[in-house]
Symmetry: D2
Subunit: 406 residues, 4 copies
C-alpha cells in the first residue's frame, strides 16, 4: 500500500496544499508536470532478476496508475483530509463505492438524479437491494448516501446528525460534497466515512474535463478501491487527469471567489423578491419592483442561515457556501424565458465552472419543479452578473405584462 | 437511436473506411477534428420552447457523448461491420458486456488473465455465476467468451465452430479479437454476436491511449450499452478518444506491415530452431546453430497453419495474422536473459504498438509458462529485428555455455 | 480586416471580459472551446464559384489563423483595451514589433536581458541600428522600449512621462508590461502606443505554455502584424494557445491574489530588514532580529511608493502591483543558500506562475547583481510563504554564524 | 554543443530509426513519451554551487529546448543523415536559414509561393538583397534555394547538377524536400548543404500540427541556429512537437504507401488521358474515353522518368516518388468542377496528410495555371481513389457536354 500523501503539507493552508501536495512526486526537473500518456512502462533492466520482476515498480500499465493519477490523488488526499481515488466521472466514483461496499439497503435523500440511475444499474446486478428515504429508520441500512450541499438548491444538510444516526445503525455515511469542495467544506470533520465528488464540477472548474473522486477516511479502503479500478479500467483519461491537476492549482481562489459572488447574488435577488412583496409599504421605484416581482423563491445555504437556527451550516462551511443556488418562478414558461435571456449565464447543464451556468433541471429530471432554475456562479464580476439578472427580470416582467394584455 | 454509420463507405476498403468513416460528422471546416473537451453543450436558444428543451440535441453532457466519441464510433462501426461503443479500457468494455447481458453461466478458455479478474468483480455483485471451460458442455451457458487470436501465443481458434455450438445452446458468442483488429480479422463473418477489443493495443497502436470497444451485430444492443455507459461514466478520456481517431487513420498500413514482419520473424526464428534440432545432418555454420539452439518452441498462427489442416485460419485472416507471437525457452532465467538483452524490443508489458515489445507473462500471470516470452512486433524493419534476435540469442547461447563451464 | 472584439464587453469588468470576450466566436455548442489542431480547412463547396474561391473564409491554413488564436486575440483585445496579436513567445512578439516598425534608433533601459538579445538578432539583419539609454536624448529615436514594472525588481517606471518625451520626438512608446497584465495595469491609459507581454508569465500563469502578445492601439497595425506572422509562421502552438485561453478565464483572481500576497510578503521582509537595522533601539527577540539580519535590500513597487512621492505608481496600478519583487544579500553565496533552502519557492527561472519561484538572475544575466534574487509570488497562502522565508533566513543566519566561527 | 544523435542507429533502416532514434533520451520508464509542457525546469539543488549554477543542465527554459524538441531533433537527425533543428512552421524554418546565412543574392526557381513571401520579409530588413532565377549565372550568389520535388507538379530537379554549380560559385545549396521526406529522398547524398521541410506535411502527416525543420550537414551550423531559435522563440508548440514525434513512428509506412498509390493513380489518369487522345485507333468503350477526355496534362516524377532520360530521378528517389502530382484541365471552371465533385479528396489546401487533398493553387497563388489542380494522395485504397476520379471525370464530361448543348 503506497502512501501518496506528503505529510509535510498536512497543516498548510488549502491554497498551498493545492500547489505543493504533489511536490514529492516530481519525476523530472519539469516544474509543470508533463501530460503522461504512456500505457506501458519499461521494466528496469538492472533491477530485474529472476526473482524480482520489477513488480515493485510504481508504474507498469496505465490502467493501474500513471504519474498524473498519483499526483492528482496525492494532492486531493492532502486537500480532502483523507485518501483519494479518482475515476472517470462522478457517477463512476459513486458506482465504485457501491461495488466496493456491496450494500443491501441504502438510505438516500432527494438531490441529484444521477445517483438514482447508478443505483438502478447496481440493482440490475445485485438482487433485492432496497432504497429507503433519508429520514426513514436506518435499520439494516448499510450506506447512508447524503448530498450536502443539495443539488439543485444549494442548501445544506446537517452532516453530524446523519453521521450519528448512521453510525448508531452500523451504516457508513457517504457524503456527496460536489457542490462544496475544499476549502468550502470538510465532511470528515462532521463524521463522514466516505466523501465523493464529481470532479467535473468545481474541482475541475473549467467545463473541460470529466472525472470523479472517492475520498476514504481509511487508507486501506482507498487501496482496495484502487485495485478494483485497476481491474475495471474506470480511471479518468490522461488529459482529463492532467487538466484536473492544473485546475487544483487555482482551486481556492476560484471557489472562494465564486462562493462570495454567489452569496452576494443570492442576497441581491432575495432582497428584490422581498422588496416586491412588501412594496406597498416602501414604495420603491417601479423598476426596482419589477426586478423581483416574478421571483417566487430563492434558495441557498446563506438564506437557510438567516431564517432558521442552523449553526451547523456555518460550522460545515468555514470558508463559504456553495456557489450554486436555485431560483423559482411561477411557471415553466417564465423559467425558460429567463434561461434564454440571461447573457452572462450560459444556458447549459452542469455546474462549477468559470462561466456562470443556468440550467432548467425539469428538462433533465422530470421530478424537479418546472419553475425552478439552478444557477452555478462563475468567476465573472458581481456587478456584471447582477446587471444581467436585472435586465433579464425586467424583460420577463415586461413580457408577462405584454402577454397579460393580449 | 442514432445511426452513426455512413452507409456510403460500407463497401469501401478498410483503409478508406478508416479515413472517411466519419466524414459526415464534421461539424466545422476543420479537416483534422479538434480535440473536444467540453463537458457541457449550450442549448440552442432558438429551438428551445417550453415543449422542446433541446433534448433532441446530439450533445448535452459529455458523459453521454461527445463529437469525438461519435466520430470514433462511426469509424469503428464501419470498419468492424457492426455497431461500436467505446469505453475507457478493454476490460471496461468486457465488464460492460457482462453488465448488459447479465450471464449466469459463462464458458471461457485460456488466454488473457484480465478477463478472469473482470469476471471475479462481476461475481462479487451477481450471485452464483458459474464459469466453465470452452470445451465443456454449453448447457445453460449464456455467454461463450472466445479469444482469437489467443494471448499470448498468437494462435487462432475456429470461431465458426464455437459459434455453431454456442448458438445451438442458445448462448451468445463474444469474440475478443484484440490481437487482430480489422483488416486482419472480421469475427462477425464467422458468426460472432459481439466483438470486443482493447483499443489500447493495435487500434490505438502507439502505447499512448487507453480505450476499449464493444461491437454489436445489432444496433439496438449498442444503443442500450451506450445508455448504461452514459449512466456509469465508463467512456474513454477526451485525449484518449482523439488519439484513437488519429490512430485509426493509419490502422491498415500499420497492422498489415506489423503482421507481415511478425510472420517473417516467426519463420526466421522457427527455421533457426529447426536447424539446431536437425543440425547433425546439415552441419550449418556454428553461429547459425547457436541462434536457434536455446529456443524450445515458437508459436503463432502462421505455424499453426503449416503443421495442421486448418483452413479456418486462412479464412479468419484474409489480410494477415496477428503481429503477436510467443517464444519459449527452457527456463525462466533464459527467458529473462532474452527479455533484458533485446535492444529493439522494449521490455514492457502491453502489445500492439509501433515499437516492438517483449513481455515475460509469468511475471504478471503466474499461470503462464515461466519460460515463455510474448513478442508484439512493431513497425521496425524486419532485418533490424531479426538482427536483434540473432545477437541476443547468440549472447544467450554464450552465456549458457559460460554458466555450464562454471 | 476582421474586428475580433465584441464591443458588448468593452465596459464589463476584467473578470467578465476574460470569460465572455470570445462568446461571439463559439462555432459549435461546446461550452468549453475544443483544442483546434487542424492545419487546413475545407472550402465551402457551395459558396465556391470560379470567381469566389472561398478566400472570404475566416480560416484556410492554420499558419494564418485558427479558431483558438482568434478567441485568444478577441479576449486579450477586450482585456487590454487594444488590438492583440499573439506569438510563439514574448521575445517572438518583441522581434515582430521590430520587424513591423523597422526602427533605426531604439531607446532602451535596464531590465530583462532577453530584449537585448532580440535587438542583437535584429541588428544582424538591419545595418546601423543604434541603441541609446532611456534617459538619453530621443533625437532620431524611432522606438522607446520601456519595461514597467521592471524585471527583476518589480519597481515601476512613469509611463506618462516617457510617453510625452517619446511622442514629442516622434517616437513610438512600446511598453513591456509582462510583470503586470490587466487588471493590474493598462499602459494605453498612460499613452503607450504598443504593449507587449510574455504570455508565458502571468497571462498563462501555470508554467505550461509559451506565448507572447503584442497589443496595438490601432487595429490597422495589428492587422499588418498578423499578415507578417502568417508569412513567418511565428504564432503559438495549438495547445499553448488553448491553455492560454483556459488561463485567461482565471486571470483576475490569480493575479490580484498574487499581487496582494506579494505586497504583504514584501512588507513582511522589509519590516524584518528594518527591524534588524534599528534593533539597537528596539531590542526585539533574537529570532526576530535573525530573520532580517542578512537582507541588504528589498525592492518592489509598494516600497517605491512609500519612500518617494510617486503618485504615478498608484495611477498605473489601479488593482495592485506586480507579484514580483527582488531581495538582495551581501554575497552570491548567501543568495544561492537562500534559493536552495526555500521549500515553497521553486528554484527555477521564469515568473508569473501558480507556484512561487525564486531565480538567481546573475546565473543567466551576468550584469545582474550576484546577491540578488528575483521572487515571483504564486497562489500559496501568505502565512505559509512567510513561514518559508522565516525558516530559510534563520537557517542562513545560523549558517553564516557557523561559517564565521570557522 | 550537444550531440543528439545516437550513432547506434545510423545504419538501421528508416522505419527503425523513426521508432528508436530517441531511445537514449527517455527520461522516465514511460514507453510513450509524455507531452512536455513545462516552460521552466528546476535547478538541481545538489549540483548547484556558487560556481556551478546548473547551466550545464540540458533544460532551463522551454524557449531554449524541451525533452520533446530534443527527441524530435534526435530522431529527425538520424533519419535525415544530418543535424536537425525544428521550428514553428516550414516558413519559419526557411526564414531562419536566411537569418543564419544572411545572403545578399539568392537563386530561386519556380515552386511554392510561400518562400517568396519569406524572402520579401527578409528583404524588408536586409537592404539590396537580389533574387535571380535558378538557371541564371550564380555569380555572387550566396544561396541556391532548390525545391525538389517541385510544388505543385511533383516533378523532380537534378540536385547533383545544382550542387555542382552552386559549390563552383561558392554558394550553399538549400533543398526544400517537403514533398519527399526520408525514406523517399536524401538530398545530402546529392550534395545539398542544408535541407528544409515543412514538417506540417508528410513528416506530420495528419493535418494536425504545424512545424518546420532545417537539417544541416554540419553540426555547428545546427547549433548556431538553435541559439538563434532560442532567442527568437521560433520553435514549435508543445503539442505540435509531440504529435510530430508520434507521426515519425509511422513515417515509412505512411509515405511509402502514399507514394505507391500516387504513382498508380498517376498511371491510371495518364493512361486514360492518352486513351482519349489516341481513341480513334483503339476504339475503347465510350465511358473509358470519357474519363480521360477532359484531362489536358498529368505531371509527376513517374511520368518525367518515362519520357526523358533522367536517371537522376531514380537515384534521388530510392524508395518512391512524392505522393503529390498535378492534373490540368482546359479551364478554371473545369478544374473547380473537379475539385468540388471529388468525394475522397478533401477540397482544402495543404498536402502530405492521411486524407487525400485537392487544391486549386491558382486561388492562393495567382501565378499558377488556373486549370491546374494539385493532388496530395493519402492512405486511402487505390481502387477507391481511382473510382472517385472516374466518377468525377465522367460527371465533368457529362457536364461539359450539357453546357455545350446550351
Amino acid at each position: 500500500m503506497v502512501e501518496l500523501k506528503n505529510s509535510l503539507y498536512n497543516t498548510a493552508a488549502p491554497s498551498t496544499q493545492s500547489i505543493h501536495g504533489d511536490d514529492h512526486l516530481h519525476a523530472t526537473s519539469e516544474v509543470s508536470t508533463p501530460i503522461s500518456v504512456s500505457t506501458t512502462f519499461a521494466y528496469n533492466k538492472k533491477e530485474i532478476t529472476a526473482n524480482n520482476y520489477g513488480l515493485d515498480q510504481r508504474y507498469i500499465y496505465s490502467r493501474s496508475g500513471t504519474p498524473i493519477l498519483t499526483k492528482v490523488e496525492a494532492t486531493l488526499s492532502t486537500l480532502s483530509e483523507g485518501y483519494a481515488v479518482i475515476y472517470g466521472s462522478g457517477l463512476t466514483a459513486a458506482f465504485s463505492v457501491l461495488v466496493e461496499q456491496r450494500p443491501k439497503k441504502i438510505a438516500l435523500g432527494s438531490g441529484y438524479f444521477g445517483i438514482k440511475n447508478v443505483i438502478e444499474q447496481y440493482q440490475r446486478l445485485v438482487p433485492n437491494v432496497q432504497v429507503v428515504g433519508l429520514d426513514c429508520s436506518y435499520n439494516d441500512v448499510d450506506i447512508v448516501w447524503l448530498e450536502s450541499p443539495i443539488n439543485p438548491t444549494g442548501e445544506v444538510r446537517d452532516i453530524s446528525s446523519y453521521a450519528l444516526r448512521a453510525h448508531a445503525a452500523g451504516a457508513l455515511l457517504v457524503v456527496d460534497a460536489t457542490l462544496a469542495p475544499p476549502p468550502l467544506s470538510y465532511p470528515f470533520r462532521q463524521g463522514a466515512d466516505i466523501v465523493v465528488h464529481s470532479a467535473t464540477k468545481f474541482l475541475g472548474g473549467h467545463s473541460d474535463l470529466l472525472a470523479g473522486v472517492v475520498v476514504s477516511r481509511a487508507p486501506k479502503s482507498a487501496e482496495s478501491m484502487r485495485v478494483a479500478r485497476s481491474v475495471l479500467g474506470t480511471g479518468p483519461g490522461s488529459l482529463d487527469a492532467w487538466l484536473l491537476l492544473r485546475s487544483l492549482r487555482t482551486l481556492s481562489v476560484r471557489v472562494q471567489n465564486q462562493s462570495q459572488t454567489a452569496t452576494r447574488l443570492v442576497a441581491f435577488l432575495e432582497s428584490h423578491r422581498r422588496l416586491a412583496v412588501v412594496s406597498a409599504c416602501h414604495s420603491p421605484s417601479v423598476q426596482e419592483l419589477a426586478i423581483g416581482r416574478r421571483i417566487t423563491a430563492v434558495r441557498h445555504a446563506s438564506l437557510q442561515l438567516s431564517t432558521t437556527h442552523c449553526s451547523f451550516i456555518e460550522t460545515q462551511h468555514p470558508n463559504g457556501y456553495a456557489p450554486v443556488f436555485s431560483i423559482r418562478f411561477a411557471t415553466k414558461d417564465q423559467a425558460l424565458f429567463v434561461a434564454r435571456h440571461l447573457q452572462l449565464h450560459t444556458f447549459a447543464t452542469s455546474l462549477g465552472s468559470v462561466e456562470s451556468l443556468v440550467d432548467w433541471r425539469h428538462g433533465i429530471d422530470s421530478k424537479e419543479d418546472p419553475g425552478l432554475l439552478r444557477i452555478s456562479v462563475g468567476l465573472e464580476n458581481f456587478d456584471d452578473l447582477a446587471n444581467d439578472w436585472s435586465k433579464t427580470l425586467l424583460a420577463l416582467d415586461a413580457h408577462e405584462k405584454g402577454s397579460a394584455k393580449l
